[in-house]
């Protein structure tokens, strides 16, 4: 045993310790990962080779003539090359889908991704030092790393972003989905996404196969094992985790008590901090800064205008649900009524409207957001001085006022103020001012209910 107690930070090893550690092997990769890696590598190699050869016209291409000629002679014809490219691509998608759905799902799980791929503070520090060291500006030691180092993580993040894009655009082109314009954009985006991955891939291949320091990493992708010395030097945090787990099992062996299966770091056997989990903005329990959430909302609103030609809204959707209910009980009344007939004509569903489905989407979106941030809970929002029942009555009354106000104004805070504001509607700004004026004035009267 090279260490009596586990070090908190990487320390200089004695020659003897290093000797022992160099002999011991730790398991790094599951055999399924290794197989998938090499399958993926083969697919990439072949797809890149054929893909570069498929772009042939003088306007688009970048590969030289001789390259196209060699490829054409290998495949017999360019059409065969395209068939090969498409069938291999589809195989690739199917293998990944099977892997994701039935097999080793862990790499699609948020938890695992956050632990293994999300970059934490040490990772950013590592990247900075790595860069400075390459430029010979510093001799500082690299920050300790988890099972994957920051460079590998960055590459993984990029891969996770780009692969769905490559798959989707590939499928669009292969099966001519969504029309000619979509196919044209797919050509461009497919090429761009592949270009991004390839520039990362060059670094990845160099680091994995050529760079001497990382040779054990290369062999671990064949054997699945790395020696402990390499793990200690290059992936200290992971090494520490493995060691902690080992010790817990050893202790369990001595005491006859199995270790708690969950969270080996929950009760660290030594004075070691649990491995820092990267904070994720999506899992954060805090609300987002208003400017960030506002920008997100603004982009959604922009997308809505681009796609739908109208803005977001809420009260219009409520109205349509209500009219649908009225029309199902009394279609004659609804069709003849001067107001309801704006929304209902016999033989035409009042529910076939953007806002109707958008509200369902909004409920799902709210739910998912609340779920990710642990805010799902049956509760009542009220001031400290009032009972639940008072709050319900106020909510109902406020709702009635809001319903009337929204219909009178032909929109609510989302439908008129937000969407109208974005297209500079004069009415929207007048409405907005009225809302804030009434809100601030009413706040004084309502203070004992809220504060």
């Amino acid at each position: 045993m090279p260490f009596e107690t586990l070090p908190l930070e990487p320390v200089e090893l004695t020659a003897e310790q290093a000797e022992v550690m160099a002999q011991r092997q730790l398991k790094k990769h599951h055999v399924a990962i290794i197989l998938l890696h090499w399958f993926n590598a083969t697919v990439w190699l072949l797809e890149l080779a054929t893909g570069a050869g498929l772009i042939a016209s003088s306007y688009f291409r970048f590969a030289p003539d001789w390259y196209l000629e060699i490829l054409t002679s290998i495949f017999g014809s360019r059409a065969n090359m395209l068939r090969f490219h498409i069938s291999l691509g589809v195989t690739w998608i199917v293998v990944f889908a099977v892997y994701g759905i039935f097999g080793f799902r862990t790499y699609l799980e948020m938890e695992v991704l956050q632990r293994e791929i999300a970059l934490d503070r040490d990772d950013w520090r590592w990247l900075r030092i790595r860069l400075l060291r390459m430029l010979k500006r510093t001799a500082e030691a690299l920050a300790p790393q988890g099972i994957y180092n920051a460079g590998q993580k960055l590459f993984a993040v990029m891969i996770y972003c780009m692969i769905p894009v490559i798959m989707a655009t590939g499928v669009i082109m292969a099966f001519h989905l969504f029309g000619m314009a979509a196919v044209r954009w797919s050509i461009v985006v497919h090429f761009l996404a592949v270009g991004v991955v390839v520039s990362g891939l060059i670094v990845h291949v160099y680091m994995g196969a050529v760079f001497p320091e990382e040779k054990p990493a290369f062999f671990s992708m064949i054997t699945g094992m790395v020696n402990e010395l390499y793990a200690y030097r290059h992936h200290f945090k992971w090494w520490k985790e493995v060691k902690m787990q080992e010790r817990e099992w050893e202790r369990a062996f001595e005491t006859g008590q199995p270790p708690a299966p969950a969270a080996p770091a929950a009760e660290p056997p030594l004075a070691v901090q649990p491995p820092a989990r990267a904070a994720s903005i999506f899992r954060s329990r805090d609300y987002w800064p208003p400017y960030v959430a506002g920008a997100g909302l603004g982009l959604t609103l922009l997308a809505t205008f681009i796609v739908m030609g109208q803005g977001l809204g809420a009260s219009g959707g409520f109205t349509r649900y209500l009219v649908a209910v009225i029309a199902s009980f009394a279609p004659g009344y609804a069709a003849a009524h001067p107001y309801w007939s704006n929304y209902y004509q016999p033989g035409q569903s009042p529910l076939l409207d953007f806002l109707v489905f958008e509200l369902i989407g909004a409920a799902i979106g709210g739910f998912v957001s609340g779920w990710l941030s642990g805010r799902l809970r049956v509760s009542v929002d009220k001031g400290p001085r009032i009972s639940n029942r008072t709050r319900y009555a106020l909510a109902l009354g406020g709702g009635i006022l809001t319903g009337i106000g929204a219909r009178l104004a032909r929109g609510c805070t989302s439908g008129l103020a937000l969407s109208g504001g974005a297209v500079l509607s004069a009415g929207a700004f007048a409405f907005m001012m009225a809302v804030f004026a009434a809100g601030f004035a009413g706040a004084y009267l309502m203070r004992r209910y809220w504060l």
């Binding site: 498929l54 772009i55 360019r78 196919v183 461009v188």
Partner: protein
């Protein structure tokens, strides 16, 4: 080596669209689309000097075809005989060529989702048959042949009787479909259906102006960076790094 061309006598053509029907049934072109069709110009002028003319719109099998340059996959290409053909197995139906064609001769065949157009009935030529439209033309107004064969009808019509083609001043594609007949007819028909400048779509400009340089630059830069690192590694010797 042949150089195929087609000549249409606008004075003889009666505009019956038999060529369209023959072509559509020969090549299973879906209803509502056509590889060749007769269009009409005029009448113009005042009685008794009225002029009206048919015009046969189809692929012109240009010498220097803009569509071939625009096709990303190389599915559209020119054969040695100067015929512009589409390899359906390579076509992905992106439509760059549709926009590039100055004669609007191309369209997306919605049944097979590939681009479709006249190919001078290449498959019939191999069997020593005339193109379907020529064979079927009720007025014998369509002629097809080899411009390098001085005994052919097209040679006579083009080089001896001055048949004219619908050249695009913007792109100079060099069309190989010629129009003959009364001068007034040809003048009117060519003026009524001028070729449009070849269009390159946003996506194409985006590709050439932004995406291609970006990707090549990115890949080149990382490659260069790694090459430099590799040479440094060689210079230092591997022993330096060994654990």
């Amino acid at each position: 080596m042949a150089r195929y061309a087609m000549v249409i006598d606008l004075h003889k053509c009666v505009g019956c669209q038999a060529c369209t029907m023959a072509c559509n049934s020969e090549w299973e072109v879906p209803a509502g689309y056509a590889r060749t069709r007769v269009r009409f110009a005029g009448p113009e002028g005042a009685f008794p000097n009225l002029v009206a003319s048919p015009y046969v719109a189809q692929c012109n099998h240009c010498d220097n075809p803009p569509c071939v340059k625009a096709c990303p996959t190389g599915a559209t290409y020119q054969t040695d005989e100067g015929i512009v053909v589409i390899d359906r197995a390579l076509c992905i139906g992106c439509g760059f060529c549709v926009e590039a064609c100055p004669y609007s001769a191309r369209f997306l065949n919605p049944v097979i989702n590939k681009v479709d157009k006249c190919d001078f009935c290449s498959a019939r030529l191999e069997k020593d048959l005339q193109p379907a439209c020529v064979a079927t033309c009720t007025a014998h107004a369509k002629f097809f042949g080899d411009l390098e064969d001085s005994g052919s009808d097209v040679f006579r019509l083009v080089y001896e009787q001055g048949a004219r083609r619908n050249e695009s001043p913007a792109a100079h594609p060099g069309p190989n479909v010629y129009y003959s007949g009364k001068k007034a007819n040809v003048d009117l028909a060519l003026a009524a259906f001028p070729p449009r400048p070849p269009r390159l779509l946003t996506q194409g400009r985006f590709w050439k102006g932004f995406v291609k340089p970006l990707v090549l630059g990115m890949v080149g830069a990382t490659f260069l960076g790694q090459a430099v690192a590799f040479f440094q590694q060689l210079k230092k010797g591997e022993g330096q790094f060994d654990d």
